[in-house]
Symmetry: C2
Subunit: 422 residues, 2 copies
């Protein structure tokens, strides 16, 4: 396809998505839930078709020499495709945030103002290898009354096409407005840029993938982009901390799932407890096979083999069993370190001192700031949101776990009786 | 200055603004209000200095042949500079949204989660001729605990410098952290682009000015931009409307202040009342010296001279005493017209039928949708926000009147007793 053919195809999809978004606003919660269930059913009905399509992607992946990890992310089987269907079915069970009254008040002139949650409109999702993003993102965006334009990676194009076709066919049988869920059917790289420039039709882009993908979208997007960047997360152990609690939380934050954004990357220790805490945590981390990169005080007291930390360690998201350790003179230095080197994602203080915890929570500039709890709790499911589309590292619109409510905008409805402005 | 000198100066301002933002978080509401009052006092104390600086801008403006309207926007006198000081003083009187608990809940595992309003961090303001934006924007951003980087137009540089110096000197005497309010002291055009790319230090850019300025910022910004685009606003007169109320609201929406974004640009009339309503509104608009561009039915019944409307009229923001008129077959066509041709800003329905009003408010995709009230009420002051930094045409973060609450982000504070994730 030529660049102008791609652009005109993308523009046409945008125009149709905008039209669909107006039809979506008219659906009731019950209609939306019935459509979601029909989509889930259709994924099960087409399980063979979806797995056959996935096999094409897998064959191409092997021919192209993709890594084992990437092939695993790409691969669907009966269990995974059933899980994809179940995830769509679960979205039907979640409460619908659309239409919720956020606040209302009456002005002295009698005007009654209501602030109401409404769909955003059209959401673009640009994602990489995992085919389940097709149905996860589309079902969450649909539940909130948004039209979706999906642009998946070329490596998963056959799986994505099969899943999108199932969502569309199942959904439309139950009343899904046409063009509510559209997948860009070709894999030309230029489509990302054309999507990102089309702010007349796309209200928000959410890139789901690595830093390179997010950077690319940010660099050319004209509409808002909600970003899910790195988590360089911290636990700070204050002088009065319960050391067993601190050790449990550090081990859990690092080891429970090391490859995710809310996993721990650096822990900070108050200098007054360096002698007592480092040997304790050193032993626990050694048992958990965690490699430690420590400052000189840490290295002196850990009591287990460790590497010397460099400046680079303070900003590194290891995403594996490596953890940086630093000694600080107290709360001020801990806060300054975290605000300077962290990624404003998730940070936790371990202390028995309520006022120290409050200062930490107040002054740390991060989406989620915990007290005596694991960093792993920065998560839509753990927050009780039911589902999340990601953990936003942005400060506008959505910060931290991004659930259904964050896939909504709002508008003001003003009721009068003939008021004019004087 | 070379481009790399400009870039390095801007980066240095960004770095210092970020540092200031951490100091700002520590100020209490009382401290912030005392600082605002000191700023207002200092503007009055430096009134002569500010007017002398403004005279330099005015001389240059005349030499450069600026229009009378632009020179009027630029001009300060004793009355206007006093109003600038008073506006800062009034910001001190507004309630402080920072720290407000938006919601809280407890999870089954005992974790207590609080969602708290916090400053955004560093806000960039890029604006054109009016020097009062310097103090208006800086005081609202400061009240909400944000550091500000201001970039004004070259035509007002001397006035802006004098005002920013007064804010800084007055503020710092009362405890304003250094670098909380910075004005880019040079006028090179490249500074806009360097600001817009500096997403490591600027969390949000708000362009205050014409469409060209906003477009330029949107095209190169890496961080969120809150836009204040055009208002192509509508009043739809339903078949059962009180025709006197409809006429009063149309005249007020168009004429009370024609040059602003919430002024009316097109009114739609239900075909069943074309014969009765057009003559009435035609007379009223003629008395108000409004030029009408109407569709054939409007032209037939208005009873006053009018021009034939073209397709272009439906999308035009006249910002003067011109108004488009169109006849529609009913609610469906009115909604479809407004969603297609409008700018999703402000629209009003005049009807006695509550269910028609509800459908209109539900299906119109605009920031503020009114029932039996003038479009001119889409305004921070009229909403009771006390002050506004503008009327957002965005759907994310802030939509419609943007007051102090919309200059804030939020974060989650999570309190536990040793919880780890299993």
């Amino acid at each position: 396809m030529t660049d102008s053919e791609i652009q005109s195809a993308i523009l046409d999809m945008g125009r149709r998505a905008r039209t669909a978004s107006y039809a979506l606003v008219k659906l009731t919660t019950e209609q939306k839930n019935a459509i979601l269930i029909a989509m889930a059913d259709e994924i099960m009905a087409r399980q063979e078709v979806i797995l056959t399509a996935n096999a094409l992607d897998l064959t191409r992946a092997e021919q192209n020499g993709l890594s084992t990890a990437m092939i695993d992310r790409l691969k669907l089987d009966r269990k995974r495709s059933k899980a994809i269907s179940e995830a769509v079915r679960e979205v039907a069970l979640l409460p619908d945030p659309v239409g919720e009254k956020l606040t209302d008040w009456t002005r002295p002139n009698g005007l009654h103002i209501r602030k109401i949650r409404v769909p955003i409109g059209v959401i673009g999702i640009i994602f990489e290898s995992r085919p389940n993003v097709t149905s996860d993102a589309a079902s969450l965006c649909f539940k909130t009354g948004n039209a979706t334009i999906l642009r998946g990676g070329s490596e998963a194009i056959d799986s994505n096409r099969a899943l999108a076709a199932a969502l569309q066919a199942g959904g439309e049988r139950a009343g899904l407005p046409p063009d509510s869920i559209q997948l860009i059917p070709f894999t030309d790289r230029a489509s990302v840029e054309h999507m990102a420039k089309m702010d007349q039709y796309i209200d928000l882009i959410i890139p789901r993938g690595g830093k390179g993908l997010i950077e690319k979208v940010v660099a050319c997007a004209r509409m808002p982009v909600i970003k899910h960047y790195d988590g360089v997360c911290h636990v700070y152990v204050h002088a009065d901390a319960d050391l067993q609690v601190a050790a449990d939380i550090i081990v859990n934050s690092k080891c429970q799932k090391p490859g995710v954004c809310n996993a721990l990357e650096t822990f900070l220790v108050h200098q007054d407890i360096a002698v007592s805490f480092y040997p304790l945590i050193g032993k626990r981390l050694a048992e958990a096979k965690v490699e430690i990169h420590g400052d000189p005080t840490a290295l002196e007291h850990l009591g287990v083999p460790a590497k010397a930390a460099t400046e680079e360690d303070w900003t590194t998201e290891y995403l594996e069993l490596i953890l940086a350790a630093k000694t600080v003179s107290g709360l001020d230095e801990a806060i300054a370190h975290i605000n300077r080197y962290g990624s404003h994602h998730t940070d936790s203080i371990i202390t028995r001192d309520r006022s120290a915890a409050e200062r930490f929570q107040h002054e740390i500039d991060s989406a989620v700031v915990l007290h005596n709890a694991s960093t792993r709790f920065n998560d839509g499911g753990e927050f009780g949101f039911g589902a999340e589309i990601g953990i936003s590292t942005d400060k506008l619109h959505a910060r931290g776990p991004m659930g259904l409510a964050e896939l909504c905008s709002y508008k003001y409805l003003v009721d009068g009786s003939g008021q004019i402005r004087v």
